[in-house]
């Protein structure tokens, strides 16, 4: 039995295998429509989410399985003070696989240590969000053909953006990747991402506060939202929330085949006018996420199609 807590739990070969399965699901959906018949996915969401929870649930339904859903901490025993371990143990009596989102970092790991069914980290605080990374990698692969020889820019909140941390860690294992980190000084990536991930893997990277100056060199631009829920101080949030807003004007110097990604939800950091630009890939990412979650569920449940 395996879990997915951190994107590094999966080898590059396993990532390739998941992406191959996801591509096969896109081409032959009917083959997979009964693959998880009789299996149940429990989505335990202790923090609000629309996209991730519905994506997991849609993924399981499209595999012919069923879903047990807990949509908020208020509607669970967590509101009565139940521990993550106890909640997970209880749910493991009903379900075959758990997808858990929790505001506390490390909560899905705690769950996985206490149950005998697979646990998927669906986001833990500002820490990790590996299934978003699966969607990001799959989107890059589908848009660029291969995940190699790419300059990838990350823009916005790089400090608390868990999707950024997971994607950088994942990309560090591919060849020819260059990273450009674009953020206000207050929201730069944590130092361990630079020392333990980028420098350790000899990944060339640069840090800047100026998006326009680096725009022409980017193959991928990964935009992020400044997340209100990660700030303890509203003043800081208000000061930084509009730091980087992508508008059609700013794309004038960008490559014709740039791919713009965003983990969503978007607030105002990408102007709606960009949605019709063929370089906008963020809604494709949403769809790709569902296919990668289907592939992941199949792998963790060891279902062969």
């Amino acid at each position: 039995m395996r879990n997915l807590i951190d994107i590094l739990d999966l080898s590059v070969e396993e990532l390739d295998e998941l992406m191959a399965t996801a591509s096969d699901i896109i081409e032959h959906p009917a083959r997979y429509s009964e693959a998880c018949r009789g299996k149940k996915l429990a989505t335990l969401f202790f923090e609000p989410s629309t996209r991730t929870r519905l994506s997991f649930e849609a993924a399981m339904y499209e595999l012919g399985g069923n879903v047990l859903s807990m949509a908020s901490a208020n509607s669970s025993s967590a509101a009565k003070g139940e521990s993550v371990a106890d909640t997970a143990k209880t749910v493991s009596c009903y379900a075959d696989v758990i997808a858990m989102r929790h505001p506390k970092e490390g909560a899905p790991l705690v769950a996985s240590l206490n149950v005998s069914i697979p646990v998927i980290n669906a986001g833990d605080g500002g820490h990790n969000h590996p299934t978003q990374t699966l969607a990001d990698l799959f989107t890059i692969k589908r848009e660029k053909g291969e995940i190699r020889d790419l300059t990838v820019g990350f823009c916005g909140d790089l400090k608390f953006g868990r999707t950024v941390h997971s994607l950088i860690s994942a990309l560090a294992r591919y060849t020819g990747i260059k990273i450009v980190l674009i953020s206000p000084v207050e929201l730069t990536v944590p130092s361990y991402i630079m020392t333990d991930v980028l420098e350790k893997n000899n990944i060339p990277y640069e840090q800047t506060t100026d998006l326009l100056s680096v725009m022409p060199k980017l193959d991928i631009l990964y935009m992020t939202r400044v997340q209100k829920e990660r700030f303890f101080n509203e003043e800081d949030y208000l000061r930084l929330k509009d730091s980087y807003i992508l508008t059609p004007d700013k794309l004038k110097t960008a490559k014709k085949d740039l791919s713009i990604l965003h983990p969503l939800p978007r607030v105002n950091e990408i102007a709606v006018a960009i949605d019709d630009d063929p370089r906008a890939c963020y809604f494709k990412q949403v769809l790709n996420a569902k296919y990668m979650r289907m592939a992941l569920i199949l792998k963790l449940l060891e279902v062969k199609v």
Partner: protein
């Protein structure tokens, strides 16, 4: 300054100056009844200044705590007034219930019964990270 030699116990030597009190607290020496001496800023040829702790009773303590504070610390085991063993330390690969995670978003801050675990992620820089949230130990 005269401090009696001990009969049965331990001399924790080569503690970096200023770290004696931290070790005193981490080892929970406050709870012991026996004679304990914490000597600060002792002159040392090797270290310039060092701290020393003498414990005049036979207790068991977590050597990982000492290794975490400084692997250069030595522990002399004293029996009947004589040093019978000199223990050297390694930087522990894992710390269990030695330090607590300071990240306010870590699951260990709300679930008190969880074991506090830190793993050595960079031996060269002596970096320990929380097993749960990967925050660096402070």
């Amino acid at each position: 300054m005269n401090i009696d030699s001990i009969k049965n116990g331990f001399v924790i030597d080569h503690i970096p100056a200023g770290c004696g009190m931290e070790i005193y607290q981490l080892l929970g020496l406050d709870d012991l009844d026996c004679s304990i001496a914490l000597i600060k800023n002792v002159g040392s040829r090797k270290m310039g200044k060092k701290d020393i702790i003498k414990i005049d009773c036979d207790i068991t303590f977590n050597m990982d705590i000492l290794g975490y504070v400084d692997p250069g610390i030595t522990v002399n085991v004293v029996r009947e007034g004589k040093i019978v063993e000199k223990k050297t330390l390694d930087l522990p690969k894992k710390l269990v219930n030695v330090i607590q995670c300071k990240n306010p978003r870590c699951i260990t801050t709300t679930e008190q019964e969880l074991t506090h675990i830190f793993r050595l992620t960079d031996p060269e820089k002596r970096v320990y990270r929380c097993f749960y949230c990967e925050a660096k130990a402070k």
